[in-house]
Symmetry: C2
Subunit: 222 residues, 2 copies
């Protein structure tokens, strides 16, 4: 068993049963000119985690450990898009409409694809998720169970939306999760900071938080 | 259609398709001498929402509208309790052990039952949930779909744990949800306050927040 420093107490895991999860590192959420920026979000706030995730991805790959990617998107025929999600707030440009980089949040379009810095390597699992919880209507849980993965190192954007929702739902399913504090970002720094504290409250009610450095050091020392 | 004032914009719903959801108003979470207090949580912080929820329950019942209750608990044989949840932090008293009010978080025990002020009326749906997301391994979604319920007015404890997790997962499933600001509480007031702001960010990315008064006024005016 490996142990690294973490909040609210050290995080212990078997290196043979851990995976890196990279949530929604998509052009439309992270890149200038994308959908999120067009909605008025400050894209600069999610830039810091990009090189951190790239470093973690490289280290997990070198160690032969799984790297899993999620992307929030919908089928081109919108069959997995709830009406409520499409119409919320009656926006000028809706999911499925043509946006700055193809049809917005549609699988296969330029904007819904991954940014180059954090793109999947050949053979890595990509989960196309229709919601904020990567377990909802996907094979994520079955995939992890089949491979005896018990521990998830979680990164991505945005902290208080898809990242925490997926971590909370992973925790319900019995996974021990560590959110990487410098490997996740939000358009709203306050929401990130409070989310990091709320997931570790009450004795790690949702799991742990830690830094990329401790994980990288551990993997380098093997 | 009815419309009430809400954040980030007015909340519109058909009164024939709305339900009140009361999350985890259980003795062990809300009552002096319960499990949560024994862990060091300040129970006083979750007291304010109790009479508010009682008023909403009475108003929904008078209007003939559904009231749904969740309780976080596990089967007596612990078959639905993930090992990770039981062992997290190696606590002195674990789920399933005998605590201040019977076996901790076990269905049917005194502590896992509802506080008298917010107890279900005869015939109301009670969802025993093994996680923080009331949709995980329960009939909640099927129940709502079968009854054409599209809108959820969400109350309960604690705001940033089971309440927001269930709201986020309801939103993924296409429900338009309103979290009642004075009908939910947390042991940590800051977490409540930030959660209320984060669910309505980005144009209501998870839904709406509003006050019990606007809902009570609407129901009283019918």
């Amino acid at each position: 068993m490996a142990t690294i420093e973490a909040n609210p107490f050290p995080y212990e895991f078997d290196v043979n049963h851990v995976a890196l999860v990279c949530i929604d590192m998509q052009r439309d959420f992270c890149q200038p000119g994308g959908f999120a920026e067009s909605l008025g979000n400050n894209i600069d706030n999610v830039a810091p985690c990009i090189p951190v995730i790239a470093e973690l991805q490289a280290a997990f790959r070198t160690a032969g450990l799984p790297v899993i990617h999620t992307k929030e998107c919908h089928k081109p025929d919108l069959s997995d898009l709830p009406t409520a999600k499409r119409n919320r707030g009656n926006p000028k440009v809706k999911i499925g409409d043509v946006g700055p980089m193809g049809r917005i949040l549609i699988d296969g379009e330029e904007g819904s694809d991954f940014i180059a810095e954090n793109a999947p390597a050949a053979g890595e699992l990509v989960i196309a998720e229709p919601g904020k919880d990567a377990f909802y209507r996907t094979i994520f849980h079955e995939y992890l169970m089949t491979r005896n993965i018990t521990n998830l190192v979680i990164t991505g954007v945005t902290t208080e939306v898809c990242v925490q929702t997926t971590m909370r739902c992973a925790n319900d399913r019995g996974y021990d999760c560590l959110m990487v504090a410098d490997g996740t970002d939000s358009y709203f720094p306050e929401f990130k900071e409070v989310t990091l504290r709320s997931v570790v409250a009450q004795g790690g009610i949702v799991g742990w938080t830690g830094t990329s450095e401790t994980i990288l050091n551990l993997l380098a020392s093997r």
